[in-house]
Point group: C2
Chain length 119, copies 2
């Protein structure tokens, strides 16, 4: 989930190349401290060197995708360490997901569209 | 959105490397034929050579992420052509999104976790 401090759910990214971590997950039922934790993890990640942005969506079925973007592979490794450390301090960590899949790679092309606000 | 024929929202992917197309979008209000079209696009994409899988989530705020996975960059180009062609045949196409961002790259590492069903 996006932090409520974000005006837009879209990440503002530089021109490629940069790196992506896609985190697909299915939540267990009940919150178990997840909501607060998810916000804290995004907040912590966003303060790490090399962090470029994050986008996140979760549907009513509990399946969600979070794509985070990083300047280098080294910044991904370092960012994972601090976020894992925070998660390990919280109880209930093992109760948040029934399944998750992480994929890491390099983005080399990007384009988009934004509707004009007029009319 | 996932096709209702999928038992799991997770894609079953081979070992990396493979390619990813991340499609982040914000929907306009109202359906405008979108639900039916999204299903048709996923169905069509999944029949293209080189298609490996797709995962998709959209939250109540209308922001969604679809990650599709492909064997080669060429299969991404070919898949985009047929899906774009289908979309162009439908009315209302320009009314579906207020914004979207597409990023394309290569996944070179993957890992995951699945909760055991016992206890």
């Amino acid at each position: 989930m996006m932090s409520s401090s974000s005006a837009s759910p879209f990440a503002s990214l530089p021109e490629p190349p940069y790196f992506v971590v896609t985190f697909a997950s299915r939540r267990t039922e009940g919150d178990n401290g997840y909501g607060e934790m998810a916000d804290a993890m995004v907040e912590l990640a966003s303060r790490q060197p090399g962090f470029l942005g994050v986008e996140s969506a979760r549907g009513p079925d509990g399946f969600g995708i979070t794509n985070s973007y990083w300047a280098t592979e080294e910044s991904i490794r370092a960012g994972k360490q601090v976020v894992d450390h925070l998660a390990a301090q919280r109880r209930g960590r093992l109760d948040w997901y029934t399944q998750y899949e992480v994929r890491i790679g390099m983005i080399n092309r990007a384009y988009g569209f934004t509707r004009k606000r007029t009319q």
